[in-house]
């Protein structure tokens, strides 16, 4: 699941120079996180109307990043054609896809943070560093690329105080990695020298 958070309302308002706005939400990740489902879209509509904007309509696409036919979206949402701009309440993937079709100004209402998941009804953030070279099994299923603030692959930096990362309130990923590997009886993985990531695997430009 793509983790996103809503931008500050005033920041959104500053983006919107246009008068006639159509709002698009997303029925997948953003809905689950309560950042861009129907409830949030309706709330946004109300606040923007209060701020003097003309909301030409709204919809929540089943998945903003996966659109089969923009013509279908247009025919089901005639308000889009009467709009000066779209406000999209989805992750960057959704905004990007919609921007490719829309032919008019598209603004994001959300900031995209990380690739996470849902575990026992709880949204968990920063689960995958999207490095394009997954070695998570070597770390007991805890991705050091994203869970460690410094993406260290060979052990902790020594900056944690009482188990807390030097950066913020998160717990040191390396304590978790150690615990998981111990549980799996795979502590020998920690002894391996892990080579730096090959960032060629992350970028889309492939060597020919």
């Amino acid at each position: 699941m793509i983790i996103s958070r809503q931008k500050e309302f005033n920041d959104i308002l500053q983006l919107l120079n246009e008068k006639n706005i159509f709002i698009i939400g997303c029925g997948k990740c953003a809905k689950k996180q309560h950042t861009g489902g129907e409830i949030e879209v309706l709330d946004m509509r109300m606040r923007l109307e209060e701020a003097g904007k003309n909301i030409t309509g709204w919809t929540v696409l089943s998945s903003a990043c996966s659109i089969n036919s923009w013509n279908d979206v247009l025919s089901q949402n005639p308000g889009i054609k009467m709009s000066d701009a779209l406000l999209v309440m989805s992750c960057g993937g959704g905004i990007s896809v919609i921007s490719g079709f829309a032919g008019l100004q598209v603004y994001p209402a959300l900031d995209t943070e990380s690739l996470g998941g849902v575990c026992c009804n709880e949204v968990v953030t920063e689960q995958c560093g999207m490095c394009g070279d997954c070695t998570i099994w070597l770390y007991g299923g805890v991705c050091p690329v994203i869970r460690c603030a410094k993406s260290l692959l060979n052990g902790p930096c020594g900056g944690a105080v009482e188990g807390k990362c030097e950066v913020d309130e998160r717990l040191c990923a390396w304590d978790k990695i150690f615990d998981r590997l111990k549980e799996l009886d795979k502590l020998e993985n920690l002894e391996k020298i892990h080579e730096p990531k090959n960032h060629m695997k992350k970028v889309r430009v492939k060597r020919t």
Binding site: A149, K150, S151, L152, L153, N154, G155, P156, C157, G158, G159, A160, V161, E166, V167, D168, W174, D175, I177, F178, L190, E191, I193, H194, E195, P196, H199
Partner: protein, 277 residues
């Protein structure tokens, strides 16, 4: 071995750095030159080391993984070696959010273990990608460690040794007994080749003790804080404590590293009190 820490200047005025250099020149074996320590932007340690070496000091250049990718690290290291810098101290580096450029992109393309490995390659005359260099480097390479090591930290320390660290500089030591436990762990590793240089910070006040207690890897014992609190001249008491620690540590490890809070005006006196000078 006695080493001391010098911060590159925050700007082009190098006068404070040079004042410290004059104070330290004849009393230490080498000076450590920090690399944007605590993620606060300063002059590059390569430039500062060059300036200090021109004044006749042996330098140990800090290299963090925070600000440069593998290309930049290698070119900086090759440049350093070409300018006569022979010692490097490798570390991850404090995260940008801890410093004065909080929004900077944290690089960490390599971690400290991988950086040590890359330096080994440069010393063999090849770069990270395996290309032959027109002249390799010749670095004596060290790393850093906390003295309180849990299992996972100890494993990382072993990896640093495996990847070519031949000396370790520790975080500031206040608890000598704790340090002896650390040395036992080092000796258990059974590597005779590595040298341990213990960090020393003379306390200046009760406040400085509380401040240091918030620094990762540093623990100032309560009774020591009490002594500082009761002392008429806390700074002098701090020096006495540091001198005693140095005396005890010298029998246990290979050297000490002086990192005062502020400048080096008292470092000579401290070393005299510790019976070194």
């Amino acid at each position: 071995m006695i080493t001391a820490e010098i911060s590159p200047s925050k700007g082009t005025d190098t006068s404070q750095m040079l004042k410290d250099a004059v104070l330290l020149k004849d009393i230490v074996d080498a000076v450590n030159v920090t690399d944007n320590q605590r993620a606060v932007m300063r002059m590059s340690p390569l430039a500062a080391c060059t300036i200090l070496q021109e004044k006749g000091l042996e330098t140990i250049m800090h290299v963090t993984c925070r600000d440069r990718n593998r290309l930049s690290l290698q070119s900086e290291l090759i440049g350093a070696c070409s300018l006569g810098i022979r010692n490097v101290l490798v570390m991850s580096g404090d995260h940008p959010t801890k410093g004065d450029h909080e929004g900077a992109k944290p690089v960490y393309d390599l971690d400290s273990v991988q950086l040590l490995g890359m330096i080994q390659k440069l010393n063999k005359g090849i770069d990270f990608s395996g290309n032959r260099l027109e002249g390799g480097t010749d670095f004596c390479t060290g790393a850093v460690t906390n003295t309180e090591l849990n299992e996972v930290a100890l494993i990382k320390l072993r990896k640093k040794i495996k990847m070519g660290a031949i000396f370790f500089q520790t975080q500031a030591v206040f608890d000598v007994k704790g340090f002896s436990g650390f040395m036992e762990k080092i000796n258990e590793i059974g590597s005779k080749k590595i040298r341990i240089i213990a960090g020393i910070i003379p306390l200046r006040s009760e406040r400085s003790a509380h401040f240091l207690n918030k620094v990762p890897g540093i623990r100032v014992p309560d009774d020591m804080i009490e002594h500082i609190k009761k002392a008429k001249e806390p700074q002098v008491q701090g020096m006495k404590i540091a001198a005693e620690i140095i005396k005890e540590l010298r029998t246990m490890c290979d050297g000490v590293h002086i990192m005062p809070l502020g400048n080096h005006e008292n470092t000579r006196t401290l070393l005299e009190m510790a019976g070194i000078l």
